[in-house]
Symmetry: C2
Subunit: 390 residues, 2 copies
Amino acid sequence: MRLGGIAAQIRHHGRKDLMLAVFDRPTPVAGVFTRSTAASAAVRWDRSILSGARARALVVNSGNANAWTGGAGSETVEQIVQAVAAIVSCPIRHVFVSSTGVIGEVLDSSKIKNALPRLHRQLTPKNWTAAARAIMTTDTFPKGATRSATINGRAVTINGIAKGSGMIAPNMATMLAYVFTDARLPARLLQRMLRAANRGSFNAITVDGDTSTSDTVLAFATGAVALGFNPTSLRDPRLAEFRAALGSLTVDLAQQIVRDGEGASKFVTISVKGATSSFSARGIAFSIANSPLVKTAIAGSDPNWGRIIMAIGKASQAINSEKLSVRIGPYLTTEGGGVKAGYDESRVAEYMKGDEIDIDVHVGVGRGRATVWTCDLTHQYVTINADYRS
Amino acid sequence: MRLGGIAAQIRHHGRKDLMLAVFDRPTPVAGVFTRSTAASAAVRWDRSILSGARARALVVNSGNANAWTGGAGSETVEQIVQAVAAIVSCPIRHVFVSSTGVIGEVLDSSKIKNALPRLHRQLTPKNWTAAARAIMTTDTFPKGATRSATINGRAVTINGIAKGSGMIAPNMATMLAYVFTDARLPARLLQRMLRAANRGSFNAITVDGDTSTSDTVLAFATGAVALGFNPTSLRDPRLAEFRAALGSLTVDLAQQIVRDGEGASKFVTISVKGATSSFSARGIAFSIANSPLVKTAIAGSDPNWGRIIMAIGKASQAINSEKLSVRIGPYLTTEGGGVKAGYDESRVAEYMKGDEIDIDVHVGVGRGRATVWTCDLTHQYVTINADYRS
């Protein structure tokens, strides 16, 4: 495969905003998408071609989400995939497309069509950074990760790039991410592995609780490395190392998105244990992670654990207040339904000044557990979103 | 009834923080409370005595929520109601209590007990403002409202006071509010009327999506005005005017809370029509009202209607994108699944500079409708909650 990114002048001048990846042969592909009922035209296209699909190209633009653009939006997608199909010499159903940026404005496809030939000539097998840069919106750094694994003794590689900074919330993919592996894997199995990895990575992060119309994660298995057997079962032990590497790579990309959360000054890990189920634990963890009062307290380095209790309480999940504990970093703040005896707030306040905050909650009713990642809510978030049109 | 408020030095010095209302005789009372699973000790007490209860006194302190204070919290409540019962000469089960302020710190009841005799001597039938001031926390103004109505030809009055500014979200009462009427009404009927009014008022507002551990609405019918009949049915036409007045008063108090939302610079009314049900319409309306990206756009006077589409999309409620419309004030922004033909953003931008913003959404699938009220998300919200312990 070859890829790259250039400036097509879609919204801002002189900034990379168009990314293209081309596969040498029809490539098995898996995908998960936003659950928004206002999904963008690109998401609707990708969904319509995903089942049993092969991919020859992936084209992504930033600067305009082509979402809520009605019939014009669908026509734009058609024009884009036709232009890419003509350059790559493939059917349009082998072209996957994403768009990210402002919602509700018609995307001018001529800028993309004009830039495509030049971009196509620049593609190389190693141009990951240019590709990662071209899909950025309010992101402040390009996001990528790589992992190696062996399957049945054969060395394979997984590369991934992602974007996302605001409008990040847990309802399916919640941003754009693309994963590429040279392992020869069937699409159906790739889809099941992607879903499993997605649950513990992209679906376990939140910046602001707002879900995008464009969220997309696509995984491509280019097949350069033959595996010497025909993998069919997710539980095949020969796939264990690959699945772990895929999980690690997606968590890495997801955490990069949180670290680049709009206005974020701190990276926060919230672990909930002892819930009735993992579903219940996720509900409690996201209630804490999305609480504006918890997020502003973290921004202010305020060890205000009472707000964590508030967020646990509003989650409407079973808890045992007598057994519930909340730790901030290594410090136990509450147990037995009240403040811990001898609690020394000054030490926790000192810990809160750091830029990596761990919150560990045990709710004392079962064995369900979940971990989610988020960031704080700062003045800068308001500045980015109130003072400028993103 | 008589009431008043004084400074008991509970948290801040020289600021009114203790409110007492005393009823001349055992008075029918109705109540709705937070659904938080971490409800405060005061809420648990009120709940335990509500059924079939009569009230002789209501005592409320600000500065400390007495929430998540374990056994010590329950003991504090007992000491407070015993002190009030001794002064008023009534059983402790006739004393209702609320506490609001910081969560997780033990409330020192001795300050309240010491201040009660002095406060009790100051009570008057008209001291509404002192009472409303004493229950404030981050509120910037005292909140009160009054309405008149006739029932069966008899003139009755409803007075109410409320507090609330942050940690305001729609899961039952979401703040403190107290409603008093001289109409002689049975408690069971009063409870049903309060529930109905609550749904369209206190349960239809949000500041930050965070639900308090202390939310309480209590209604008292002192019975000074005999009605000349025994009201039993909610649908009795002789109660229609009173019910309308109660609805109007609770909406007034709820809107005062939103207008005083932490850091709020604009008052926002969100109406959703055409949903499959009123439940679905509420889900969409609150998805818009709680979206940080919508709220920051409003703070920045940015007519970014694409974010409203995003918030509708993430609500996971049925919509018809072809029929969906979004109006900002009098301006139609989108129809037919895309931007309205001839849309002039400059006029909407001018409208957005005002401090009262109306957003009207029609989702085109049914007859369900709902209206909720909220405020914008400003730098001042972050300052209030990141820089100071509230």
